[in-house]
């Protein structure tokens, strides 16, 4: 029996800001993991990845990351992907405080 396909989300970094983004089902890029499209089919995942990687003027380094369904939408599985949804653990910077790269506004 073939192993069950682990669902995926398409993720990348934004070209201009450099922060983490996810592809939604309606072809937007979101900064929230739970708004991403959860892709349960391998062939579809490849198509979505190609679609993402073709957007060379918007995104950098698109790839498929394992995810699972959750109460509010897809949730990350691997700890690296969990950190990517939050930001660094040594400062309250990044997504965990709703902040983007670039200068802080004091």
């Amino acid at each position: 029996m073939s192993r069950k396909y682990i669902p995926k989300v398409v993720t990348a970094n934004a070209l201009l800001e450099g922060d983490v983004i996810y592809l939604t089902a309606d072809d937007r890029w979101t900064r929230e993991h739970h708004e991403a499209e959860l892709i349960e089919d391998e062939a579809h995942a490849q198509l979505r990845l190609l679609h993402a990687a073709a957007q060379k003027g918007t995104v950098v380094g698109a790839y498929l990351a394992d995810a699972k369904p959750g109460a509010n939408g897809p949730e990350p599985i691997h700890f690296r992907e969990v950190f990517r949804t939050r930001g660094p653990s040594n400062y309250a910077h990044g997504k965990q405080v709703g902040e983007q790269p670039g200068p802080r506004h004091y």
Partner: protein, 555 residues
Amino acid sequence: MYSYNDFDEAFVRERVAQFTSQVERRIDGSLTEDEFKPLRLMNGLYLQLHAYMLRVAIPYGTLNPNQMRQLAHIAETWDKGYGHFTTRQNIQYNWPLLKDVPAMLSALADVGMHAIQTSGNTIRNVTSDHFAAAAADEIEDPRPYAELLRQWSTDHPEFQFLPRKFKIAVTGSPNDRAVVKAHDIGLRMIRRGDEVGFEVLVGGGLGRTPMIGQVVRDFLPKEDLLPYCEAIVSVYNLLGRRDNKYKARIKITVHENGLDEIKRQVEQRFAEIRPTFHGHDQDLLDDIRAAFAPPAFRNAETTAHDQFYAADPVYRSWADTNLTEHRNAQYSIVTISIKKHGETPGDATAHQMRVMADLAERYGHSELRISHEQNVILPHVHKSDLPAVHAALVQAGLGTANVGLISDIIACPGMDYCALATARSIPVAQEIATRFDELKLEHEVGPLKIKISGCINACGHHHVGHIGILGLDRAGVENYQITLGGDGTETAVIGERAGPGFAYDEIVLAIERLVHAYLEHRTEPTETFLQTYRRLGLAPFKAALYPAEGEKDAA
């Protein structure tokens, strides 16, 4: 101190202009990422986990106050108000926006700084002893040689596409504070009779295949430095493997071809190119040397220091750990700890950078250094000024008395920032430091170097830590492997793996057990952790790390 000549200035400005237009073309879509990536890396711009990162070179770790203030200005204007000093004597900004990077580079150029060759398969920032020109044990200031190497290697047409990155370190002292044995080329100044020259080591490096450099020339006259280094790099450029990135460093070239063969080829190449150097490099070196003339040392009473030392235990504790003997008996070398317990190793805020710049200007003959141990140094402070310096540092959160102790940890950015990481390293450092501060043990434990890397690339030098910690990903969970007995000095050794790794929430306790084992086994308080380890070997430490296994064996 050395400042740019016209050629440097024009070159750096031109590179900023080029990169400005490259960024514009990337943003308007005329350059793809595949085209842009090598260009941005040539200018020190990485893309990490949460944002871009700009890596700025601090050649041989030397800065003047205006440069430090400019680093503060950049941190505040285009980043989140701080910078990260690294083991490679660089500073990294973790949050720049792509569109702002040209302005940052331009601001750096205003103070004679840049991010060129901080990435890519080139000769990287030349590093050196952070106590250069101040240390009591020094033969000669190594920085003029480092600067000569910098000028020679910057934009060197033959060496822009080496098989892999190439790192050179120089020390002018018998006590190696620049980890020269873990560099592609390590240069140790030595005396032979009346003559001063270099012992040349080649093929050191950490990363996935750690190796200690080997002596390729036991005595190199100083005036042969450039042709000899050129001979090494050009032999490597031909022999180095380009088919496998993990076998591309010169350490593997030396390993695969044998030291004798490398020696033979280097000497042969050297004999060919030596005659093409007509002494222009030596004229240049003379000019450079003039720029590194020692400051006009003051002659004054040092009683203020002695009085504070006798009266104030906080000051005394700081003086005991953070001051180093200066060649001028009235002076001290001050190491400012960027390792406050619980904070990120190597991170300084813009405010702290300005405080350090002001102190350097007022009390330190306008010199600052960045150490590979991620601290900042005021190399020349008159002893009478030390109490004032200490008071100002304490106010800015920079007065921590822990240099060389267990909380003075090197940690790479790890999975909090780095895209290559397999685990976090910063929070492990924070927690170890906090724990030993709570235990009030670190002064009793004495000299102990912990170094942490977040993956096998070993940017945190874990192989040469007395205790090394390597963060790995074991089946989707962070796992930390311990190595023991590493040493990054003139007696360099790669640490030994202690055994199976520890989970994130076990690692601090494991370190605590190691330290207690040391305290139990040392013959006397002056026997350091490393000495005890060398005397007893792995066994007692292993027993402390894995107590349950001992019980199993006994059962």
